[in-house]
Amino acid sequence: MTLRLNQASLRHANHVDALRGIDVQIGAGEQVAIIGPSGAGKSSLLNLLATALEPSSGEIEVLGERAWHLSARQRQRLRARIGLVHQAPPIPPRQRVVTAVLAGKLGQWSLGKSLLNLLHPLDIAGARAALARLDLDDKLFAHCQQLSGGQLQRVGIARVLYQAPEILLADEPVSAMDPVLAGHTLSILSRHAREHNVTLVASLHAVDLALAHFPRIIGLRDGRILFDCPSDQVSREKLDALYANEQLQSPTLAVAPLTVQIPRC
């Protein structure tokens, strides 16, 4: 198992229970979408899987290692093999796109190489290749503050693609993109995962995107797993239960066939 959570709970500092007794097992190369209403704990679950947060109770095993039983140095080495795409990419506004993308490999580079890379980008070709897959290579030397929200999200994805992790976690990776671009970007992510045998876990707001791109769906509500099944078994009743009291996303739009039109914005 690549990722294994055993009765994992997470309580934030303000005594809010974000996750309660989560049991999940995800195998190597699997592609899983996490859906659920806002505040259900999707981000917390991904942060837990990324070993960014320590569970308040329960066990987590990542790539065969119990992350929180390792020394800090070993954990950093483990973390270098996990990539997390953030919903709002945490990139300094005045950093150049090329530096932001190359920062993906900081966990694998020595300090000397990292500092040298700040003075002069050492792998312009690599950064360009990662950006080109997202149709953003023309922005290679732009400053991140000049980009739109959707472009910035794609820079965040390009950074993780450049990192080339064994586990790719994505927290609402396409929330700032229009539907067509969002679908296109998700298919790039899942193709990358398939080609490199990378385990992909993404949380998504849009149910239709999750059903269209992911073979396995985890429904999360109030910090608990409501269902965990193949996407073709996700029924209308399950979604209604998941989003009860929430406005369910219009089912007529769901599973709309994706067009091949690729916008270059």
Binding site: H12, A13, A50, T51, A52, L53, E54, A72, Q76, R77, L78, R79, A80, R81, I82, G83, L84, H86, P90, I91, P92, P93, R94, Q95, T99, A103, G104, L106, G107, Q108, W109, L111, S114, L115, L118, Q163
Partner: protein
């Protein structure tokens, strides 16, 4: 204002803080024996007038100007060398004292672990000690150790300013958005690399402008230390005041104005380049 449905929970604390601030200010004025009325009495006004009238015209003969240029360069050298030495100590100390490089904070919502917090205290203590002793006292100490001259001024500035720079740098690192550095730490990067990629781009302009401002302060401080024999413009001002050469004092004050103006422009230029 204070009926239950439209009550601001912050209203009482704010009122209380205002009252406490005023209550503390009043004895402060009493203790410092401040009485602005004295300034407007006739005899103190004529006394000040005599002192200032001697300042005109500023001295500008050849020999004095040469002396002035030499003293100015010495002052600049003292300030710059002192700052350079201070930075050598301040940069590592600020990195050690700041929570911005805490690995445990990245996975604990920004709060470092208890040991991390305890280990940062001694560094903060050293910085507090370095800056709590005024530079003039350090200068008096070093004048005894290395003799009269600029070296004492350089050492005094280096010690005091490393304390100030270290403290403020550490606070600047903490005051900016921590998420970029935390995200890098969570992706396995080392602390220094995460700092250089996640924090530094956000704080570079602030750091530079504060450093240039401190350099400007170091120029002023080196003048004060000149009074105790640490060389530079200060020693010349001291001599000129003792000789009642008001014109020379005026020239030196004008030089000063020019130096501060230059520092200000430099800071603006650097900020403009970085934003």
């Amino acid at each position: 204002m204070l009926n239950t449905d439209s009550r601001d929970p912050a209203a009482w604390p704010r009122l209380l803080i205002t009252v406490v601030a005023v209550a503390l200010l009043w004895p402060g004025i009493q203790l410092s024996e401040l009485n602005p009325g004295v300034l407007f009495q006739a005899d103190s006004q004529s006394e000040m007038g005599r002192f200032v009238s001697a300042f005109w015209p500023p001295a500008h003969d050849q020999a004095f100007l040469q002396l002035l240029i030499k003293a100015t360069l010495q002052t600049l050298a003292i300030a710059t060398a002192g700052m350079a030495l201070a930075l050598l100590l301040a940069i590592p100390a600020s990195l050690l004292a700041s929570r911005a490089l805490s690995l445990s904070a990245a996975s604990r919502a920004g709060v470092p672990s208890l040991t991390g917090r305890l280990l940062r205290w001694p560094i903060r203590g050293v910085l507090i000690f370095l800056r709590s002793v005024p530079e003039i006292v350090w200068a008096l100490l070093f004048v005894r150790a290395v003799g009269l001259g600029p070296a004492a001024g350089v050492l005094a500035i280096a010690i005091t300013y490393s304390g100030m720079l270290g403290k403020v740098y550490a606070e600047i690192f903490e005051s900016t958005d921590q998420r970029p550095a935390h995200a890098l730490l969570q992706a396995g990067s080392g602390r220094l690399a995460a700092f250089a990629y996640g924090t530094l781009p956000n704080v570079a302009a602030e750091l530079l402008s504060y450093t240039v401002y401190r350099w400007e302060c170091a120029i002023r401080a080196s003048v004060v230390m000149g009074f105790v024999g640490a060389g530079g413009l200060g020693q010349q001002i001291d001599l000129s005041i003792r000789m009642f050469a008001g014109g020379e004092v005026a020239s030196m004050l004008l030089t000063f104005l020019l130096l501060v103006l230059c520092a200000d422009q430099l800071s603006r230029l650097l900020r403009w380049r970085l934003t």
